[in-house]
Symmetry: C2
Subunit: 410 residues, 2 copies
């Protein structure tokens, strides 16, 4: 049981997450620990909240991370809002839509789903029609579906939810920091982001934001822990059922992330350092510049893929700009191609789930991984692995096409 010091091999990570962390985020991670109530630390918490508002493009009071991976953010928001029997409408267009049903089901929601083919997205009008019929308390939806590489337009659905008094809860894990997420302008009531994708921070925190409509629902279910409650907490009369999870109880987390600083858990110090640095770098680059950079390298990647004669699984407006899905050519073992890329080139791309397993490859171009060198390297390794596996690819065209593209476009 005598293991050696940690030593990770060098990788080029072009999956839809986790992706490479920015070197400045990696450096921030090794900052020594501060106590969770140290004024130097609570100031960092406040700064992070402030910067998260910028990233979510919102004036919401509440924007802070849940201490867990992305799906902990989904579960925190959903479990804090959903009471047993609440109607929830979930339009599903890939794996992560099912995850929403999975979570809502466990919290006793009365779930209504709509489904469309994996790779497609919904016509907003169809969703709005369904909202009118079902009259849900909550509409929960994925913004960018990494399992298929598709992106759902949210603006019209958001406005309809507001008009019809439904809460609109959005999984923006894959899109935040990589493409527009206009929380306020699109009338998103709660948004859950991910760290390990376009923010280029390691997995382990889930930044969320929510508005006063959501806050009101959550506060109606508030309960303070017995071990730390004061008289006024005991006097508080609750009209709704308490939140089923203690860890994900956002009514308690608000007391922790506000001047009251009522102890809930011990904040994950190091991950907060990383998130603070990650969102700082996003705002330093500027959201517009950052989205533009993501579109540029997506275009380069697509040009290279097409030059190889391969087909995209999703194209055009419904394509998620930060994930590119490629159909596996007839007779090619998709997993064997990926394995060769990883073992020989140290380049990682992804397969998909359920009905798409073995049918498509997924290449992410997210955050720090979304850069020229990585695009060129993933294409070179991909081309070599395909030729090695006997695919009818003309050697060299992809890279030459992309080199010319970058020469022309920047």
């Amino acid at each position: 049981m005598a293991y050696k010091e940690l030593c990770a091999p060098k990788r080029t990570i072009m999956t839809p997450g986790p992706v490479e962390a920015d070197p400045r985020v990696l450096r921030a991670l090794s900052t020594p620990i501060l106590g969770q109530f140290d004024p130097a630390f609570t100031e960092m918490m406040n700064e992070t909240m402030d910067m998260l508002r910028g990233v979510f493009q919102t004036s919401n009071k509440w924007a802070f991370p849940i201490d867990g991976t992305s799906r902990s953010g989904l579960e925190a928001v959903l479990s804090s809002v959903i009471e047993k029997g609440d109607k929830v409408l979930i339009p599903i267009y890939g794996r992560f839509g099912y995850l929403l049903t999975e979570i809502c089901e466990r919290y006793g929601a009365d779930i209504h789903i709509m489904e469309c083919e994996w790779g497609d997205v919904f016509n907003p009008e169809d969703v709005i029609e369904q909202i009118k019929q079902v009259q849900p308390k909550i509409v929960a939806m994925v913004h960018g579906e990494t399992s298929t590489g598709a992106i759902q337009p949210l603006k019209e659905i958001g406005h309809a939810c507001r008009a019809l008094d439904a809460l609109f809860i959005v999984d923006a894990v894959a899109t935040i920091g990589g493409t527009e997420v206009l929380t306020d302008e699109w009338c998103l009531d709660a948004v859950i982001g991910g760290t390990q994708k376009c923010l280029s921070v390691p997995s382990g925190m889930a930044p969320i934001t929510f508005n006063d409509r959501v806050e009101a629902v959550i506060n109606s279910r508030k309960k303070v822990e017995k071990g730390i409650a004061t008289e006024s907490d005991h006097a508080y009369e609750r009209k709704h059922s308490p939140i089923s999870s203690n860890y994900f109880d956002i009514s308690q987390l608000m007391d922790y992330w506000s001047p009251r600083r009522l102890n809930h858990h011990t904040e994950a110090t190091t991950m907060l350092y990383a998130l603070r640095e990650g969102v700082r770098l996003v705002l330093e680059e500027g959201l517009e510049n950052r989205f533009k950079r993501h579109r540029l390298h997506e275009e380069a990647l697509i040009a290279g893929i097409k030059a190889m004669g391969l087909e995209l699984f999703v194209e055009g407006e419904k394509k998620l700009p930060v994930v590119t899905c490629i159909k596996v050519p007839e007779g090619i073992d998709a997993d064997s191609v990926r394995s060769l890329m990883l073992s020989e080139f140290g380049v990682e791309i992804a397969s998909s789930f359920g009905p798409l397993q073995g049918k498509i490859w997924r290449i992410g171009s997210m955050g720090y991984s979304c850069q020229k060198k990585n695009v060129l390297f993933v294409l070179a390794a991909f081309e070599a692995a395909l030729i090695y596996h006997g695919a009818a690819i003309k050697a060299g065209d992809a890279i030459q096409t992309v080199l010319s593209f970058y020469k022309r476009e920047g």
Copy 2:
């Protein structure tokens, strides 16, 4: 909104957690990201499981971290085991006993509590008597209660639980890696550890272990996510109610931490690096040496406190070796003393919760923070702050006493 690069002040952290991370753990944190299914990463997952078995002193198959802070580990185990109406007996001797009731209540347990004065612990015979009367499915208990600085003997209760067929679930967040936790020998069915205390890893993960008795209960509630289920998963017939949380569903986490590697969440890469390095250093030092080191510095700290003429809140066998609680002398503002120590000396100690707030100070001597330099520095700052606040302390005695102690004892 233009914030500067992260810059944390230098602190000496002598609270009952979070404490200073080992510099080698801090260095491991800045290791570049690996994909969660990269063989180099899954090997690190396996190594971490193997080393965790060593730290928990168990031959259990299952020993892995939950991706959240310590209480996420408590909630994962309790929510995966407790079905609505299950009888749970919780003997409470401080704040974290109430936390167990808090979590169990939310999952619909039929809770039976026993309470003793904060600062005291239970006579095992009394707990065993209560187990016989209540006949609970589960007994849940805290091993080291950081809110009061007391430690509960568990061996007899564990053996009684086994004989009476109750599952014994233990919160060892404060004790793991700092004092003996004999999972197998004491018949603990599930144990939850903490990272940010005696392991000297940042907060944000919760290592757990559980045996086949617990595994059987959890597997009887198993459910595979719809988006990734295969035919054989659908055919599986569940006889018990499904687990209420998706994030904390240990039946799914076992599929993730075993060769099946079925995707649940994206593993918190960087925190896993830190945990792997942290447990590696624990085993490199050796558990016996590590416990001895914790006892040595505890003794030094106590000698210094007593030389100042201050009184301990808990003494003798029931004292938690890694937390020392001190009664606040009449007329002294406890929080003002702490503030001065932090702002002028950069030394952090803690207050307590609920009935003990303002009544005691708590000084931790845990993990990397548990070393001679820190003990001397916390005593020097504490003495100075007390004198500054008008306490009747003879200057210099504490430090001279402790210097002699170290000269004599090592």
